[in-house]
Symmetry: C2
Subunit: 316 residues, 2 copies
């Protein structure tokens, strides 16, 4: 095992970004790559919005709002107020400072640049010494199949309807034509690859979109480094977001065990919270029990260290 | 003459908007239409910016920055700061609140709405009881011919190069395919039309673009109401902007007389500042001498009243 090697983290938004920050701080500069879900991306007010990419970007740059976990610290809302005044759509709120990444990303995409290149450039400008990548450069919008409201675009389900419709499944529109970003293939082919960490993000809407990109799952399986997931479910509840609600609606036990089963053979190891210590012996995958709730900065760092140490113990 | 009739004002940005506000306050509700220059319009950061339309809109809505004459009162600049941080272009500054009109206009234009319809809707939302119209719905970007830097897009001349290149002429790109907005034709065909006022805006870059729209000059000439211009040049100097500098570069006397000559037979009357009282008898057009410098709100109102009274004296 190489404790000096490189790490890939798969992340959705807030919860994933917390562990990504812990890993970023625990690892040497430029030893971390974060592959971000872009299934939540959408075009709003004519602007291309990439919520998870931005959450990871702001978090690693030290600019994220610590209270909310998304958006910019000290954000202001003059744009939204003015937009409301002229009759624009206000159900999805874009902060004044946050607007810059959406406007600039939209402009650069229209000029033919890839989301990968734009994201890497923004991260570099913000002084982030990690590689932040979208799961692919093609738009692959997540569609939520619901009992009550039919098939909904993700943000309409997530923000406009506040996750209330009952879910029966998900579609990743256009994923058949998507390809893993070249930077991911390069990152995974390095001999000093240490671990692949699936952050405690929603398996269905934050990790599955990336795993559905043709070839991506195989890249992870064949990279030679241990693949370790951290459960987003603790004691039968999700720390944040609709994970537990979705599990129930999909008729799955609301348990960390369902997360481990969901990832199945992709995993070499699974990290459980102390609240779920009793599950450790029951799963078909090596487990590590450790505190996984990340309330403070120290929690993120400690979880990152524990996950890395666990991954190292699984390799070689 | 009908002192209850309707008025059309032709306006550029700051100076024109001042008199437009005076007229707005002097006239009954819905008796004023303002035809705005859109030669300054451009696409910046992927957003469609209409500086003169917005200056008139904000001014009549009571939202304009009183100090600057453009932009919103109490504007903030979080977007620009964030844009600079990620390496975006910052030479043309868009305020946080101001961004709303650009984002919303861009979105609605992309959805197929006309600039006229969008502008009218925004004015209505902001409680403006005047008709604010673009000079046409087609993009007609002003190009500035210069000695030193060739042909420059307007904002590159005006903002980026701060009007320093020496001007030899102007082009209104695509104006041959432009048409006056339907609302203008309707406004001018009303029997209660009282006056057409050319505000004290730059003749070359704020009024000529409108007058170059095929059929527009003829509409003004044949509308039956007196056409009165207010000189933007006072005592051989422009109140604001590059009017005097352009006159010198175009080898014209830097004088209100050049403004009157420039508009020529279009005018039924010309309003001169007291500083230029001596010119009044020398021009081939009826003149009215009155204070034209608009420093305070009362100045705008007084000038509007004087111009309307002068126009009334010319009709019938």
């Amino acid at each position: 095992m190489s404790t000096a090697g490189r790490v890939l983290a798969l992340s959705g938004g807030i919860g994933g970004a917390k562990l990504a920050l812990g890993l970023y701080q625990a690892l040497p500069a430029n030893a971390l790559a974060v592959l971000c879900n872009t299934g939540d991306d959408f075009t709003h007010l004519g602007l291309r919005v990439s919520p998870d990419v931005d959450t990871v970007l702001y978090t690693l740059a030290g600019l994220a709002d610590r209270e909310l976990g998304w958006g910019l610290e000290g954000e202001t809302w003059r744009f939204m107020d003015a937009l409301e005044r002229i009759g624009g759509e206000t159900w999805f709120r874009l902060g004044d400072g946050d607007l810059a990444v959406h406007v600039e990303r939209t402009r650069r995409l229209a000029a033919g640049e890839s989301l990968s290149a734009i994201t890497a450039h923004m991260a570099a400008r913000l002084g982030v010494e990690a590689l932040i990548m979208p799961m692919c450069d093609q738009p692959v919008p997540t569609l939520v199949q619901t009992v009550d409201a039919g098939v909904l675009p993700f943000q309409e389900y997530f923000v406009k309807r506040a996750c209330t419709p009952r879910v029966t499944g998900f579609q990743f529109a256009g994923v058949d034509r998507a390809t893993p970003p070249a930077a991911l293939t390069q990152w995974l082919s390095r001999p000093d690859l240490r671990a692949v960490i699936i952050c405690p993000s929603n398996p269905f809407i934050s990790v599955d979109p990336a795993l559905a990109v043709p070839g991506l799952r195989e890249l992870l399986r064949s990279c030679g480094a241990p693949v370790v997931a951290v459960s987003p479910v603790i004691g039968g509840r999700a720390v944040k977001g609709p994970t537990a609600k979705m599990m129930a609606e999909l008729a799955l036990p609301v348990s960390a065990a369902s997360v481990a089963a969901h990832y199945g053979e992709l995993l070499h190891g699974f990290v459980l919270d102390e609240a779920d210590a009793a599950l450790a012996g029951t799963l078909n995958v090596p487990c590590r029990v450790t505190p996984t709730l990340m309330r403070r900065e120290a929690d993120k760092h400690a979880l990152a260290e524990a996950v890395l140490e666990f991954a190292d113990s699984l390799s070689g």
